[in-house]
Amino acid sequence: MKLRHLATALGGVIVAFVLLVGIFAPLLAPHDPFAQDLMRRMVPPEWMEGGSTANWLGTDQLGRDYLSRLIYGARISMLIGILTVVTSGTIGITLGVLGGFFGGRVDDVVMFAITCRLSIPLILVALTVVALLGSSLTLVILTLGLLLWDRFAVVARTTTMQVRNLDYIAAARAAGASLAHILLREVLPNILSHLLVVATLEMALAILLEATLSFLGLGVPSPLPSWGLMIAEGKDYMFFSPWVIMVPGVTLFVLVMGINLLGDGLRDLLRAERV
């Protein structure tokens, strides 16, 4: 039991830390993340042979400070994660609540939309969109936001179905509350905790997907310091200097794990509440 709380707390600390790093990136970064120094390329991190305290995590193939790029990368990951979840959450929750509340034909349409969405290959479509419309941060957020709403919709739909028939909804109806009032004030707050768990899952997924798209060269454009892009750019040097992919890779891994730990903790909390 204690271990579980510890894990949740660890997840929370990781997420909060990365968020703060992202927000205060300009204050924290020791160097300009875009400044190239061709005389100091591929300098290894401080603890390795040839490293120095001038660049704690070394420099990349263009001599840019790796730590500064990593810090600014936190900005991109958190921005993508949060904004994607806001977009996809809005779409998914709207569809799910409507389907779950009204049932019947409305629900058929929502279920159909979910099925269609699930059958569309995610990465391939996102890559195509970015390739056609040109890569930019906004486009990646929009594309992922328009694609990642399925789980929101599924969970919002089932939970709405569960609360739809409860007494307080009937009471609100009997009291003549408007539909908008019932949906926003009675239904939504009662399914919100479940949606929060979905939000953590989707945020982790969005961050992973952005890194994947950037890695494949069709995510956020160079020279933005996306962690996925850093791995892609370091790929050619990984056999001689493995740390160029290890540093951003481990960072990405830790952040995603932190979000998942937080989500797991929330889910357990929910389950404990229900019992």
């Binding site: 059958s119 290959p121 391939l124 994947t212 790929k235 890779g249 794990m257």
Partner: protein
């Protein structure tokens, strides 16, 4: 039962149609496909020629109907890049992707199901926690990064396995492992949850009261009931894995449809992209349909209704 199958089939057909429209619309997103194909340095004349040659000057609905009609008869158009029929390109590459996906799923099932059962039997124990921790770590691992890491370790430092291409079957080992990794957490959690439920069910107490052996209780009575959701998810996961193989095929340079799609996207070869999106969607729809049917076979209650 028949009605159930029929309804599922109709639904699948409708989804197919929608996906067809989506995959067509997708490539028309930029507004002017001809300009995209011609590239930034082309003159207005070049664009006009391309537009005429590829039939892009006709109304969109016309283009769609022609494309859909041709696709229905197996003609997926011609690749701008390879100057060859798309269907031929896909026919050569699809087996690679399917081999990758199926071996990935096989590895995932072989790992996830026994571990899930073990975790459920020892619910709350150190073994259970360790297994769930592995699931958590697996979930957070970016597959492209895991691929690169494995390439460095196995391919270069240990030199055990080939790190790109499929000259021999060993070429599939690393990519299939990475692909399996993405499916293992979900399958494992589900197996565990299903087994925990099943093992605490009344019919398990009955089975124990009958004096059955431990293995028979777990593997026959509990697993059969826990298997139903796992079967559905396994099929869905295979669909996701085929779609996600684009990353792994690119990293390991496997000549499957994912790699083909990635190449085509970066070279603006849209008939190919369109076709691959459609093929992957059809595969997914087919797999979910298959999962529903298998569940109907596994669950006698579903079969009757």
């Amino acid at each position: 039962m028949l009605i159930f199958v029929f309804r599922r089939a109709v639904l699948a057909l409708l989804v197919c149609l929608t996906v067809l429209v989506v995959s067509f619309a997708l490539t028309r997103l930029s507004g002017d496909l001809a300009a995209s194909i011609a590239g930034p340095n082309a003159t207005a004349d070049d664009v006009a020629i391309i537009r005429k040659n590829y039939g892009l000057d006709r109304p969109l609905t016309q283009q769609f109907v022609d494309w859909a009609a041709a696709a229905a008869s197996g003609d997926l158009g011609r690749s701008y890049l390879y100057h060859a029929p798309v269907s031929g390109l896909i026919r050569v590459r699809l087996p690679v992707t399917l081999t990758l996906g199926l071996s990935g799923l096989a590895i995932a099932l072989v790992v996830a199901i026994p571990l899930g059962i073990l975790a459920a039997m020892r619910e709350g124990s150190a073994a259970d926690r360790a297994i769930m921790l592995v699931a958590l770590l697996g979930q957070a691992m970016p597959s492209f990064w895991l691929s690169l890491t494995l390439i460095i370790w196995f391919g270069l430092n240990l030199q055990w396995l080939p790190i790109s291409g499929i000259e021999s079957w060993q070429g599939y080992i690393l990519p299939a492992t990475v692909l399996a990794f993405s499916a293992i957490p979900a399958l494992m959690r589900l197996t565990r949850a299903g087994m925990v439920d099943a093992l605490s069910a009344d019919y398990i107490r009955t089975a124990r009261a009958k004096g059955l052996s431990r293995s028979k209780i777990v593997l026959k009575h509990a697993l059969r009931n826990a298997a139903m959701p796992v079967v559905s998810i396994a099929a869905v996961q295979l669909g996701f894995m085929l779609g996600g193989s684009i990353v792994i095929e690119t990293v390991f340079a496997l000549p499957g449809i994912g790699y083909l799609a990635w190449e085509s996207i970066s070279k603006n070869d849209f008939p190919v992209v369109q076709a691959v999106v459609m093929i992957l969607a059809l595969l997914y729809i087919g797999l979910t349909l298959l999962a529903d049917l298998m569940n109907a076979v596994l669950d006698p209650r579903l079969r009757a209704s």
